[in-house]
Symmetry: C2
Subunit: 414 residues, 2 copies
């Protein structure tokens, strides 16, 4: 199918998908989960082709691991779909209802966004995930995955589609763009007549390309240049534990800590403890002049370091003279994701919470908690770093809009 046809069937599916009863959606999701597992052999064969191509193209190990499917991972994909089936259905919820003086009754109801376009990298699990979340919220989804995962994605979408067909669900509920050329991808981002929202998920380059080229409204998700500021009054043990957790527990994720900001008055005492602790995982530390002078293990940072999301065993260190300077530094270089202060000062904690401009701001806790599951949403389609529509971890509600429903008996405007 070409792009225009894909857009057309998705748009045509909107009315039917938006009206599906919750029971029917949940039953369909449970069947889809079962059938994915039944289709394991086909999925693994398709994935094997992708893996062979990836290795031939010298894809880095980390990316190969994200691309790989196993029996266990297919079971996890199915479990993820079943979890979405178990969540409350937000569609149709009445948020507001009021009677106007002229007798008009104005209600506001949660409705699907309509058609959601997803652009992502070579991670086949996102294919099943995105379908489940969009279907549960009554949205049609058009998927454009990374070309390296094409065979895997085709197999997953085929499995999901055959479930939809046997459940009598309209075909446009899920589509995959198989032509992964740049021209087609750009055209996809500009289909304002058919697509209501675009959600890019992936690295900084992919997000930037979508923001630059899209005319369809975008929900910008998650690059995270996350900071931890260690205030003068910080408990050192707590600070070390939190930094160690936020930097090293999982280095490739957007809520990992990439940069430290340290109050100058404690730097001399704290930095040697820090280098020892991060040394356990061989973390490279790049500091400003003052920091580098205080510990041999700290190498000099350049201006570029302050803005870099390493996603690696590297961290930068900036020293500051007070919380105000710390906030200014963070607001200059952060990506609006997650920022933390370690302090025992009420005043500095409140100032930091109020003035740091980010989706999630922490006092005395690890930035690693910014996550849809940790926040109790039961699902996550990404982490929004923009301020429109949704900010922070996105669960099912992020995939909904609202609609005003007004009931009258002949009212006209005077």
């Amino acid at each position: 199918m070409d792009l225009a046809q894909i857009g057309k069937i998705a748009k045509e599916a909107k009315t039917e998908l938006g009206s599906l009863h919750t029971i029917r959606k949940n039953e369909t999701l449970l069947s889809a989960a079962d059938n994915l597992v039944k289709d394991s052999k086909k999925l693994l064969e398709a994935n094997k082709k992708d893996m062979e191509n990836a290795r031939a193209n010298h894809m880095p190990d980390g990316l190969c691991d994200r691309l790989l499917l196993t029996e266990e991972r297919i079971e996890q994909m199915a479990a993820g779909i079943r979890k979405v089936a178990a969540l409350d259905d937000p569609i149709g919820e009445v948020i507001l209802e009021k009677k106007c003086p002229n007798g008009l009754v104005i209600g506001q109801k949660r409705v699907p966004l309509g058609v959601v376009g997803m652009i992502y990298e070579a991670r086949p699990n996102v294919t099943a995930d995105a379908f489940a979340l969009c279907f549960k919220t009554g949205n049609a989804v058009i998927l454009k995955g990374g070309s390296d995962a094409l065979y895997s994605n085709i197999a997953i979408v085929q499995s999901l589609r055959s479930t939809l067909e046997s459940e009598g669900i309209v075909r446009g509920a899920i589509s995959l763009i198989e032509d992964t050329s740049r021209e087609t991808t750009t055209a996809f981002m500009r289909m304002n007549d058919d697509i209501d929202v675009l959600i890019p998920r992936g690295g900084a380059g992919l997000i930037r390309a979508v923001v630059e080229n899209a005319t369809v409204p975008v929900i910008e998700t998650g690059t995270g240049n996350c900071h931890i500021y260690v205030d003068e009054s910080a408990d050192f043990d707590m600070a070390l534990d939190i930094i160690f957790n936020a930097k090293t527990q999982r280095i490739g994720v957007c809520n990992a800590c990439e940069s430290l900001v340290i109050h100058e008055k404690i730097a001399r005492e704290f930095l040697p403890l820090l280098t020892r602790r991060l040394g356990e995982k061989n973390v490279e530390i790049r500091g400003d002049e003052r920091a580098a002078a205080l510990a041999d293990e700290i190498v000099p940072a350049t201006e570029e370091d302050w803005g870099t999301e390493y996603l690696d065993y590297i961290i930068s260190v900036k020293t500051v003279s007070d919380v105000t300077e710390a906030i200014a530094h963070i607001n200059k270089y952060n990506t609006g994701h997650s920022e933390a202060i370690i302090t025992d000062s009420y005043q500095n904690a409140e100032k930091f919470l109020n003035e740091v401009d980010a989706a999630a701001v922490y006092v005395n806790a690890s930035t690693r908690f910014t996550d849809g599951f940790e926040f109790g949403f039961g699902a996550e389609i990404g982490i929004s770093t923009q301020k429109l529509h949704v900010r922070g971890p996105m669960g099912l509600l992020a995939l909904t809009s609202t609609k005003y429903i007004i009931r009258g008996n002949g009212q006209i405007r005077p």
Copy 2:
């Protein structure tokens, strides 16, 4: 000031504006209103220059009227600012607070968007309006008004700025882009580092240009190709009153009715009544073949008519065989603004409310009610026709985002 400087001072003003106490914001708004009235003479002089240029450039009467300032209109601008001062301040409101099993307390708080960019046409009242709404919600605003209103806008912004200065408010709270060239406007739409949201207000051409060129997130506002569907079971008197109101009460507004959809079984009886009623205001009626055959006054419509927002004494008429066909027609040609059904059928009313895809859907009432004041928001910065962030009339809440505030005592992610 050049564009880069304007962006810089607005961004720098964010922290201070976001932390202003409500009392201080309200006092500043009340002073601004008083000072605008005191500066009337300067405003009228500046406006006179704009009006002279406009007339020399043969600006149409309707647009000249929107550009014109009078003592009374300046009083109205001031009254609008005072109304905004009287509204509740949404900033800082805690929407959610919960304690996690590990002791973390997660709160979600309303915060300003940050820097709002407004792009609009030659309507000086929008300048004062936009400032008041953005200032009340702790946002910095950068204004780019139509070049035909430049002198008026400069005078209004000067008056507002001198109030801000005497109240000790940071300078970047309001800026006006005086260079109205296309290059500068395009560069303005792509200042992602400085601007959080762009709101275009104006005709379809302006909105399209912003959607096409902006990389900053946009809230698309209001072209309205609004329909009224007269169902088989409609009360004719009610239908005629509502159509007359929605078409003719004010023709230049986005919630005016532009197109009728009529059930074929009542067309023969209803259309002659309709032509008589709309004839009172000399409304031109363009119909499909079936409609044109039923009344001499109805001229043939072309395909282009179905998608046209006339903003004039013209209306199109399409006949359909049932509510399903009516909904399909509306979902094909509407702009997602306001749509109404006139019916006495419970089933058709519910079907229409559920399946028509628009910001506001009405049963037995005029589309003219889609308005921030009518909906009880006490203010309006525009009417959103997109599904992200806000849909329908936008009050103060539309100018806010949220932020997660997480308080811990050393929590790390296991």
